[in-house]
Symmetry: none
Subunit: 246 residues, 2 copies
DNA sequence: TTATATATGATTGACTTTGATTGAATTGGG
DNA sequence: CCCAATTCAATCAAAGTCAATCATATATAA
């Protein structure tokens, strides 16, 4: 990581020389570090994301243990080659970026922040038009909804503020709730990214009922999930296993 | 890509020499990069479709930067309190940002790059929706045009690649030309930002005739301006004086 | 100490990238 | 309008790179 941070990238052979270890070990470590989001592999070597290049390794280690990244990674793994997806504006959805492995995907978003990352990673990116909300740099407004209604997605990924059996998925901002609602409606399969602190709470505006989307969370054993688990709405630890049943 | 971004374009043979690889590999890579939207191929080489031709790297000194800044500053000073304006994607228009002093303005743009600055400076910002072009992070496509047609602006500011009496304002990219054309049509007053190196040249697609917009440039004594000066189309040194006559 | 888990490095066959060659397509000068 | 030169995409074999497997070595825990 020191070498990569200094040079931006390096070949497998470079790293073999530097670390006095075998190609097998280097490859294994690269695979592992990539899964944690520290670097991005390419055929023959690996790079670090230039934007985060400065960031301290240990600092990110701590960050990486966070629930948010786990959830983001699980979400990103659900994206398949050729998918057309909607990604909502939000901090958790933002963390999905480095984990998206699928190719040939089309991504629609209302988040200005996400676009940089999407474009840099070579994804076909579309932005919804409208007023830019200064606080979150999310695009909101009537036009967003109107445009969304003309689109359909294989999957959609939205953040959420609170989940409750009776109130469903809720969020405090009305504009953003409408967008989430419409996105969920237009997607064949909707995913809500939520860490367990969001469970059994509710916010101002409901955008969908609990059964209308799959919850992606970090702790599949949370008591709240038992109440709503009808075998199809939770993705916990083993992502692919559970998802294959859906 | 580094080479193309610095030089605007390059032949396959140039790229073979630079990368120490075969023509087959260069061609393959060009095909791939074009499919991702990072460049545009032509017979014998490729270009990055920049909004405005980047000048020679050696020449791109303080002097030329200040040209751009002078133009940007003049343009920014034309914006008045309460205006609703369109700002085109482009490097010169980007430089306007720090000079915008007016308050209570509404800015519409198709440039993802501009949004950050606009929002940070507290302007009411709207983005046009559509496909994001990777090379320039400009939003393009049919939706952009359709939406533009429903709006009207007090003023619009667009970049240009070349200006010529017969061909008017021209730019190499067709998609972006349509956007500029529509923006100019929808504005009560249109301004084209162009340093004098753009004069008496022409690019592929015309988006307006010389008389349809006011040229903002750094050198009001350039011979080309005499040919087209009908007392209303040039803003040179004393910005406010000339503009007050319009 | 033993047993249990984890990390390493060599080997393998599969996959990817590369560059030379070919014949087709494009270009510009006569 | 044709011809020669150049550029092109397609093909193929060689080189390079990959993940998976296995046996060995090292660390950790009881």
């Amino acid at each position: 990581m020191n070498y990569l941070n200094e040079n931006g990238s390096g070949s497998v052979n470079d790293l073999v020389d530097i670390t006095n270890s075998s190609t097998a070990t280097v490859r294994r470590d690269l695979t592992h570090l990539e899964s944690k989001g520290f670097l991005k592999r390419f055929h023959g070597g690996a790079t670090v994301d230039q934007m985060e290049q400065e960031e301290d390794y240990s600092e990110k280690s701590v960050k990486n243990l966070s629930k948010k990244l786990k959830i983001a990674q699980k979400a990103a793994e659900l994206i398949e080659d050729g998918d057309t997806i909607f990604i909502d504006a939000g901090t958790t959805t933002y963390e999905m970026m480095p984990f998206i492995k699928a190719s040939n995907i089309t991504v629609v978003t209302n988040s200005i922040t996400l676009i940089d990352q999407l474009v840099r990673n070579g994804h076909n990116t579309h932005v919804l038009g409208g007023k830019v909300k200064p606080s979150t740099k999310a695009v909101v407004g009537h036009d967003v909804i109107e445009k969304l209604k003309t689109l359909s997605f294989d999957k959609c990924f939205v953040g959420v503020n609170a989940i409750d059996i009776h109130h469903g998925y809720t969020t405090p901002d009305e504009d953003e709730a409408y967008i989430k609602r419409t996105a969920v409606e237009q997607a064949r399969r909707a995913f809500v990214l939520a860490d367990s602190s969001k469970f059994e709470r509710s916010a101002f505006v409901k955008f969908a009922g609990v059964e209308e989307a799959v919850i992606i969370t970090e702790n599949e054993n949370h008591p709240f999930l038992e109440k709503i688990d009808d075998r199809t709405t939770i993705i916990g630890g083993g992502v692919s296993d559970l998802y294959s049943d859906i």
